[in-house]
C-alpha cells in the first residue's frame, strides 16, 4: 500500500480550458430529431416576441409524446407487492392507509419518479443560434445564381499540389530540403558506383593508367564531398491554379421610408421586417453586404444603428432613394460578381408623378441589375376602406419575375410575408 505514495503524480488536471460544448453534438441531434415539433413551438414563440428579443434564444416547450424512451415496467394495478417506506409515525401492523391514485409515482425507486415529468411536455432553452437556424431553415435568397455556371462566374485560386517554380512567398522549405537530400543521396550513389568501377579497373591496369585512375578517383571523391546543398531543381512551391467558381457574393439594399406619414406603428412594422431580414442575411450568408438607405424627400445611406433607431420626419419622395440605391449598385456592386437584392418598405404614400417615375425607374433601370426586388407595403390602418396605396398602384405597371410585393397590416403579418418573400423556391 505504502508504495503507492512513491508513484504519485500530478493528479489534478485543469480541464476548464478545454473546448466547450462537447454536448453540442447531442444537442444538435435532439433538435434534428424533433425538428417539426420544435419549429412549430419556435414559430409560436416568435410571434409573441418584441422586436428587440427576436434574435435572442428562448424557452421552448414541445409535446412530450415522442420523447419518451419506453422501458418494460410492471403494471402496478396488477398482482400484489410489498414495499418498504420510511417515516412511520403512527401506523401499527394491520392499519390501512389510502392508496394514492397515481400509485407508483410516490414510492419505489427515485429514478422512475423523475421520468414522469417528460410525459406531457418537455421544456428547454434554445440558444440564439439554434433559434435563428430554425426560423430561417427553409428560407433562401430567391434566385441566388449560385448554381448557374457559366453566366456569373469569377475566378477563385485553388491549391493544386506542388510546382518547381513560383513566388518565393510560396516556397515550401521542408519539402525543398527533402528534395535536396534525395538528390544528394542519388548523386552520391552514382559517384560511388563510378569509383567502385574505377577501383576494379585499377587492380588490372598498368602503372600510367593507374596514375590516371587515381587522379579520376580523387576528383570524384572531391565531387562527392562537395555536392551543392541546394540547387534550383530542388525547389518546390505551392501550386495555385485559378478555377472558375460561381459567384455567391450578394448585397442587400434596404430601403425604408421614414417620412412624416410613416407613423410609429408603420415604422415599427417596417423595422421589424428589416430586423428579420438582417438577422436572416447575417445568419445565412456571412458574406452578404447590407446597405441601409432611408429616405424622406431626400435619400441618405446610413449605418445599421441609425437606420433602425434614429428618428426623422419630412415629406416623401421615392425616386431619390431608388436613384441612390442605383448609384450604390453601380459604384460598388456592379459587374457579374454580385447578386444584388433590394428590399423596400414604405407606407406607399407618394405623388402620382413620383410613383409613375419610380415604377418606371425600377422597371427599366434597376430590375435588369438585381436578382430580386421585394416591396413591402404598409398601408394606413386608419382608412376605413381598403384602397391600395399610391405606390402599390404605380407598381402595378411592373411585370417581372424578379419583382415581388406584399402588404403588411399588422405585426402578425410580418413573419408570413417574410416567409413568402424568401421561401426556398425551386430554381427556375
Amino acid at each position: 500500500m505504502s508504495d503507492r505514495v512513491g508513484i504519485r503524480y500530478m493528479r489534478i488536471v485543469d480541464r476548464r480550458i478545454d473546448p466547450q460544448g462537447r454536448g453540442a453534438v447531442n444537442r444538435e441531434r435532439f433538435i434534428r430529431r424533433f425538428k417539426g415539433e420544435i419549429k412549430r413551438a419556435a414559430d409560436e414563440e416568435f410571434s409573441k416576441r418584441s422586436i428587440t428579443d427576436v434574435g435572442r434564444g428562448g424557452r421552448i416547450t414541445i409535446p412530450g409524446r415522442g420523447l419518451a424512451e419506453p422501458h418494460l415496467t410492471h403494471d402496478d394495478d396488477t398482482g400484489g407487492r410489498e414495499f418498504v417506506v420510511p417515516g412511520n409515525r403512527e401506523f401499527l401492523p394491520g392499519d390501512k392507509l389510502p392508496r394514492p391514485d397515481d400509485a407508483g409515482a410516490g414510492e419505489g425507486d427515485g429514478d422512475e419518479a423523475g421520468e414522469g415529468e417528460g410525459r406531457d411536455s418537455f421544456a428547454f432553452v434554445l440558444s440564439r443560434e439554434e433559434f435563428l437556424a430554425l426560423f430561417f431553415d427553409d428560407l433562401e435568397l430567391p434566385n441566388l445564381e449560385r448554381t448557374r455556371f457559366g453566366e456569373v462566374t469569377m475566378e477563385r485560386v485553388q491549391r493544386a499540389g506542388y510546382t518547381r517554380d513560383g513566388l518565393p512567398l510560396s516556397l515550401l522549405p521542408a519539402l525543398t530540403v527533402r528534395m535536396s537530400i534525395a538528390r544528394r543521396i542519388a548523386l552520391r550513389g552514382s559517384i560511388d558506383d563510378q569509383i567502385e568501377e574505377l577501383e576494379r579497373e585499377r587492380e588490372e591496369a598498368g602503372a600510367d593508367r593507374r596514375a590516371q585512375i587515381d587522379e579520376d578517383i580523387a576528383r570524384l571523391r572531391v565531387r562527392r564531398e562537395t555536392l551543392p546543398f541546394l540547387e534550383d531543381v530542388d525547389r518546390r512551391y505551392r501550386a495555385r491554379v485559378p478555377r472558375p467558381a460561381p459567384a455567391a457574393r450578394a448585397v442587400m439594399l434596404c430601403l425604408m421610408d421614414v417620412s412624416g406619414s410613416m407613423d410609429e406603428r408603420k415604422k415599427d412594422l417596417a423595422k421589424r421586417f428589416f430586423v428579420l431580414l438582417y438577422l436572416f442575411l447575417e445568419r445565412k450568408y456571412g458574406g452578404v453586404d447590407v446597405v441601409f438607405i432611408r429616405h424622406t424627400e431626400q435619400a441618405e445611406e446610413v449605418d445599421e444603428q441609425r437606420f433602425f433607431n434614429d428618428p426623422q420626419t419630412g415629406g416623401t419622395l421615392v425616386r431619390p432613394a431608388l436613384e441612390l440605391a442605383n448609384r450604390v449598385i453601380d459604384t460598388r456592386y456592379g459587374g457579374p460578381d454580385w447578386n444584388v437584392y433590394v428590399a423596400q418598405a414604405s407606407d406607399g404614400d407618394c405623388t402620382s408623378e413620383d410613383g409613375r417615375l419610380s415604377a418606371a425607374f425600377v422597371n427599366d433601370v434597376m430590375l435588369p441589375k438585381v436578382r430580386y426586388f421585394a416591396y413591402v407595403d404598409i398601408p394606413s390602418s386608419s382608412g376605413w376602406f381598403n384602397r391600395p396605396s399610391d405606390l402599390w398602384q404605380s407598381y402595378d405597371a411592373i411585370e417581372d419575375s424578379g419583382f415581388a410585393r406584399r402588404s403588411v397590416r399588422g405585426r402578425s403579418d410580418i413573419w408570413p410575408v417574410f416567409r413568402e418573400l424568401f421561401s426556398r423556391k425551386q430554381a427556375a
Binding site: 480541464r15 441531434r29 419518451a68 422501458h71 403494471d75 400484489g80 414495499f83 418498504v84 417506506v85 417515516g87
Partner: protein
C-alpha cells in the same frame, strides 16, 4: 488501529440530543482542546496547490485506515462541462445520440433557472479513476468531493466483487472512443435516421443486454476494430448480388436444435441471431450491449456504492478535523451539504422520492462501525460476528462482498430500521384503494422489513424478467419472448407495446410476448 481511536471515546460529551436524531456514532472532538496541526487552509477559496495538499492529507488518512484505491485523477471543470458530462451518463466520451441531447437540454434548463443544482461529483470507474471537481464549488465542497469520489467510490470500485468481475476499468474509455467513431462512421455511410433507429431500439432493451451471471469477455477496442473491419471488408469484397444468398451464414448445426435454451440476454441473442440485420447493425447492437454491461454493476450497487462513498467522506473529513487540518467553519459547511445529501424525507412529505440510497447506505455502513465499536446487547445478538471487531475490517468486507440486496439482507440492523422508521406496506388485488401496513419497527417486524427491503432492491423487482423462449422456426420467424410473472404482476400495456415495436425493428419479423405464471399458465399476450 484501535489505539488511535481509543482516547476519543473519553472525549464524548453528553448532549441533549433531539429525540428523533441518533447520537453521532463517530465521536466528536471536544472544542477548545489544542489541535495537532494548523488547518491546511482557511476560508472558502481554493487553489490547485491547496487541493493537492488536501489530497495528500486524505491519502495519508485513507492509508492509515487501510483503504485501498485506484490512483485518482481529478479533473477541474466548469459548470457547463459538468452539464455535458451528466448528459452522457458521466462518461467523458460517448457515442452521439439524441437522448443524451434531451438530458442535456433539460438539465441545462433546470440549472439556469435554479430549479436544480448540479451533481457535486461524478466519478468514473476507470483506472486511474476519474473524478470531476466543479470550479464553482467552495473549498469545503471540493474536499468533500475528493473524499467522496476519489476515495469512497474509488475504493468501492476497486474492492467490490461485482465491479472486479464485470467491468474492466482500464478499457472502457478506449472502447467508448471506438464506439463513438464507429457510430459516426455508420452515420456517414448509412445515414443518421437508420443509425438512430437501431440505437433507439437497443436503448429500449438496454436493461436486457447484460449477462447477469457470466463474466463478460474483455473489452479491447483494438480487437473489436480489427474484428469489425475484417467482417465488413469480407462482406463488401464478396458481395455478388446473384450469389448473395449463398454467402449468408449457413444455419448453424443445419437445423434448429430441438430444445431451445431460454436466453436472458436479449440484445446478445438479437446480435447473433436476428435474421435480417446487416453487419454494421449487429455491431451497433453489440456496442449498446457492451455499454449496458459496463453499467450493470452500478445498477446493482446504488445503495452499497453511495453508502460507502458517503461513509468514507464522512469518516475521512472527520479524520482531517481530528488531526486539526481543517477548522470549524470548514466542517459546518460540508456538514450542511452532507445532511442535505443524506436527508430521508418521510413517505408522506412533499420531497419524498422513494428511499434515498445515500441515506440508507450511509446509515447501514455507519451502523456497522457502531456495532463494531459500541455494540449493545441487541447488536451482540444480531451481529455476533461484528461486535467488538475492528470496524474498518468489517467495512471493507461489507464493501467488497455485497450488492444492494445482499448488503441489506446481511446488515440492515434493527437500529437503522428504528432510526429510519421503516414500515412495510402491502398493495394487493384484494384492496386496490388501500395499502395495508404489514410490519413496523418492532421485534416482529425487523426480519420481515429486512427481507422485504432486500427484495425491493433485487433487479427483478424493477426490471421484469424477460427471456427469449423461442425464435425463428422456419415458417414464421416470429420471436417469442416470455415474461416470468411473479405474484401476478403483469407488464404495463402501453410501454410494453412501444418496446415490442422496438424489438420488431431489430428482429424484422413478428414479436410475441407472453406472460407466464410460475405454473406455466399463459396470463396475457402482447403482439406487435
Amino acid at each position: 488501529m484501535s489505539d488511535a481511536l481509543e482516547p476519543t471515546r473519553e472525549r464524548e460529551r453528553e448532549r441533549p440530543w433531539p429525540k428523533l436524531l441518533a447520537r453521532p456514532s463517530v465521536p466528536m472532538p471536544r472544542p477548545g482542546v489544542p489541535r495537532a496541526a494548523e488547518p491546511i487552509a482557511r476560508g472558502s477559496e481554493w487553489t490547485l496547490s491547496t487541493l493537492e495538499k488536501f489530497d495528500v492529507a486524505l491519502l495519508r488518512h485513507a492509508q492509515r485506515l487501510g483503504l485501498d484505491t485506484f490512483p485518482t485523477q481529478y479533473e477541474l471543470i466548469t459548470a457547463d462541462q459538468m452539464i455535458d458530462l451528466c448528459s452522457t451518463v458521466g462518461m467523458p466520451v460517448h457515442y452521439a445520440h439524441w437522448s443524451f441531447g434531451k438530458q442535456l437540454l433539460s438539465q441545462e434548463r433546470g440549472y439556469r433557472k435554479g430549479l436544480s443544482g448540479l451533481a457535486y461529483e461524478i466519478v468514473i470507474n476507470t483506472d486511474p479513476s476519474l473524478a470531476y471537481l466543479m470550479e464553482t464549488n467552495t473549498l469545503a465542497l471540493q474536499v468533500l468531493v475528493m473524499a467522496h469520489a476519489g476515495y469512497g467510490h474509488n475504493a468501492f470500485f476497486k474492492s467490490n466483487y461485482l465491479f472486479r468481475q464485470f467491468t474492466q476499468p482500464d478499457a472502457i474509455l478506449d472502447y467508448l472512443k471506438f464506439a463513438r467513431g464507429f457510430v459516426q462512421e455508420c452515420e456517414e455511410r448509412y445515414g443518421w435516421p437508420e443509425v438512430e433507429k437501431i440505437l433507439d431500439s437497443c436503448h429500449a432493451l438496454a436493461a436486457y443486454g447484460v449477462d447477469r451471471y457470466r463474466r463478460p469477455s474483455r473489452l479491447s477496442p483494438r480487437r473489436e476494430r480489427e474484428r469489425l473491419r475484417e467482417r465488413l471488408r469480407f462482406a463488401e469484397q464478396h458481395y455478388k448480388p446473384d450469389f448473395a444468398h449463398l454467402d449468408a451464414p449457413a444455419p448453424s448445426g443445419e437445423e434448429i436444435p430441438a430444445i431451445f435454451e431460454p436466453q436472458e440476454n436479449l440484445l446478445y441473442f438479437i446480435e447473433k441471431s436476428a435474421p435480417k440485420l446487416a453487419a454494421w447493425q449487429r455491431e451497433l447492437v453489440r456496442i449498446v450491449r457492451k455499454v449496458a454491461q459496463y453499467f450493470y454493476p452500478q445498477r446493482l450497487t446504488k445503495v452499497a456504492n453511495e453508502g460507502a462513498a458517503t461513509f468514507w467522506h464522512y469518516t475521512l473529513l472527520h479524520e482531517l478535523y481530528d488531526a486539526g487540518e481543517v477548522d470549524d467553519g470548514f466542517m459546518l459547511e460540508w456538514l450542511a451539504n452532507h445532511s442535505d445529501v443524506v436527508a430521508q424525507p418521510a413517505f408522506d412529505s412533499r420531497g419524498f422520492r422513494g428511499i434515498n440510497p445515500y441515506a440508507l447506505g450511509f446509515a447501514i455502513y455507519r451502523d456497522i462501525r457502531r456495532v463494531c465499536e459500541q455494540p449493545t446487547d441487541e447488536d451482540r445478538q444480531c451481529f455476533p460476528q461484528l461486535a467488538g471487531t475492528p470496524w474498518n475490517e468489517a467495512i471493507y468486507f461489507a464493501m467488497a462482498n455485497f450488492k444492494d440486496d445482499s448488503l441489506i439482507e446481511q446488515y440492515l440492523s434493527p437500529k437503522v430500521i428504528r432510526d429510519l422508521r421503516l414500515f412495510l406496506l402491502h398493495d394487493g388485488e384484494d384492496d386496490r384503494r388501500h395499502y395495508h401496513v404489514q410490519a413496523i419497527h418492532n421485534e416482529d417486524g425487523y426480519v420481515k422489513l429486512r427481507q422485504a427491503l432486500a427484495a425491493q432492491y433485487r433487479l427483478e423487482y424493477h426490471t421484469p424478467s424477460i427471456v427469449v423462449a423461442r425464435a425463428g422456426d422456419d415458417n414464421e420467424r416470429a420471436l417469442l419472448l416470455q415474461h416470468r410473472v411473479e405474484r401476478g404482476r403483469l407488464l404495463e400495456t402501453d410501454t410494453t407495446e412501444a418496446v415490442l415495436k422496438f424489438v420488431k425493428e431489430l428482429w424484422k419479423f413478428d414479436v410475441v410476448l407472453e406472460e407466464i405464471d410460475p405454473e406455466g399458465n399463459r396470463l396475457k399476450i402482447h403482439r406487435t
